[in-house]
Amino acid sequence: MPARIPAGSIALWRTQSGRVTASADRCPHRGMRLSHGFVRGEALSCIYHGWSYGQTGECLRIPAHPGLTPPETIRVAAHAVEEAWGVIWVAVGETTAEPPRFEGFVPLRSLTAHADLATLKAATGATAGTAGLDWPAPGAPEIRLLSVPQEGYETLIHVLVPGDSSPAQRIAASRAAETLRRTAEDIQAKGLAPWSTTR
C-alpha cells in the first residue's frame, strides 16, 4: 500500500509470512510506483513489467529475461520498520530509539484531514500526551490520536481506542473522528485554506 513519510512516498508491504517492509515507492526500471504492485510470497512485484524485489531491496527477478540473475546494482531503497502494538513505525535514516508503546490501546482506523496539526489540536482541545494526542471525545471512549503530516496542509490521523472498547463504543469513536475532521477542516478553511482551491 502507498504511505507517506518525511522522506517521501513509500510502498509499505507485508510478505506472505507476515514481515513488513517499507520500500521507496519507485521501481528503478521505469519509475512506476511500487505501491501499485503486488506481493507474491516474499517478494514485491512492480505492476508495470513485473520486476520483483526482496525485503532488503535487491532485485530478484526480471520476467522478460528469465535466464538472467539480476545484477546487485539494481536495488530499491528500504527503510527500517518496526511493528509494535498494532502500529507500524518507519524510521527515516538510522535510529536506535524504540517506538513508543500504547499499552491498553488498539488501532481503530486511519483518516486524512485537509488541516494541519495546529488546527487539529485547536479542534480537539486535546492535551499532548507522552505519545500522540489524548482526546476526551464527547460520547465516545478516551481516544488517542497519532498524527502524521502529509503534503501541503494534509494530516494523516491514526485513531486508537482502549482495547476493551465494545463495538458500539468503537463505532462512536469512528463517528467522533469524522466530526473532528469536519471541525478541523472548517477552522482551516476559514483561515488560510490554500487546499480548497487546489483540490
Binding site: P2, P63, H65, P66, L111, T112, E178, T197
Partner: protein, 219 residues
C-alpha cells in the same frame, strides 16, 4: 439478454461484471459512445430516450438504469446477491444502490471531464467525489466493526457491484484513493471473487495466480 455496451463505461462494466459473477451469458452489442455518440442516435434513443448507456434488453423488458439491471440479474439467477431479506440489510442495499448515483455524478463526472473534456466544474466534482469516498470509507469501517466485509452484508451484494467501478476508477478523474484503507481492502475482496472480470483501469489481483515461468530460450 442483450446489453448495449461501451468498454470504457463503468456503468456498463457493472452489468458485465454482475453477469460474469452470476454466470449469465450476455449478448453484447457494442455502442460507439465516443467519438460516434451512437447513444444519441435514433436507434438507441428509441430504446432509451434519455440517451444513456447501458441498455439491457430481455424480451419486452428494456432497462436503462444500471442498478435495476444488477437487481434483475440477481433476482433471476442469484437471489443471494440481493441480501438475506432482513429489514436492515434490505435497507442497506437500497441505501448504497441510491448512493452509487452520487459516485457516478461526482467521480464519474470528474473522469469524463479528464478523459473526454466534458464541461463542468472540475474542482467541485472532485470535492463531491472526495466527500462520497469518505462516506463509503466510514460505512465500510462500521461494517468491519460489525464483522462484515461488504457494504450491506458479510457477503457481496448488488450494492457492492453498483459502487465498485466508479470508486476504483477515481484516479482517472484526478482523485487519489491513497487515503482510504477500508476501501482498499474492500476493493481487494471484490477483485478476489471467483469469475471476476476486468475492464480497462480495473485489473485482477495478479498474486492470486502462481508466478508464470518462461523458459529462457522462448522469449
Amino acid at each position: 439478454m442483450k446489453l448495449y455496451d461501451y468498454i470504457l463505461s463503468p456503468s456498463c462494466y457493472k452489468v458485465r461484471l454482475m453477469a460474469a459473477l452470476t454466470g449469465v451469458k450476455l449478448d453484447i452489442r457494442p455502442v460507439d459512445f465516443h467519438p460516434g455518440a451512437e447513444h444519441r442516435g435514433q436507434e438507441l434513443l428509441a430504446l432509451n430516450p434519455a440517451g444513456s448507456i447501458p441498455i439491457l434488453e430481455d424480451g419486452d423488458l428494456i432497462l436503462t438504469e444500471s442498478s435495476a439491471m444488477l437487481v434483475y440479474l440477481a433476482a433471476k439467477v442469484a437471489p443471494s446477491w440481493l441480501g438475506s431479506g432482513g429489514a436492515e440489510e434490505t435497507a442497506r442495499v437500497q441505501q448504497w444502490l441510491s448512493f452509487s448515483s452520487r459516485l457516478t455524478a461526482s467521480l464519474g463526472g470528474a473522469r469524463l471531464h479528464e478523459m473526454l473534456l466534458r464541461p463542468g466544474d472540475f474542482g467541485a466534482l472532485q470535492s463531491q467525489g472526495i466527500a462520497s469516498l469518505r462516506e463509503l470509507e466510514a460505512g465500510l469501517v462500521e461494517q468491519g466493526l460489525h464483522g462484515m466485509g461488504f457494504l450491506a452484508s458479510d457477503r457481496p451484494t448488488v450494492a457492492d457491484i453498483a459502487c465498485f467501478p466508479y470508486v476504483v476508477l477515481a484516479p482517472d478523474g484526478g482523485v487519489s484513493l491513497d487515503p482510504y484503507p477500508a476501501i482498499r481492502l474492500w476493493s481487494r475482496a471484490l477483485r478476489s471473487l471467483e469469475n471476476f472480470i476486468e475492464m480497462p483501469g480495473i485489473h485482477r489481483l495478479h498474486e492470486l495466480k502462481p508466478e508464470p515461468h518462461i523458459e529462457p530460450g522462448k522469449v
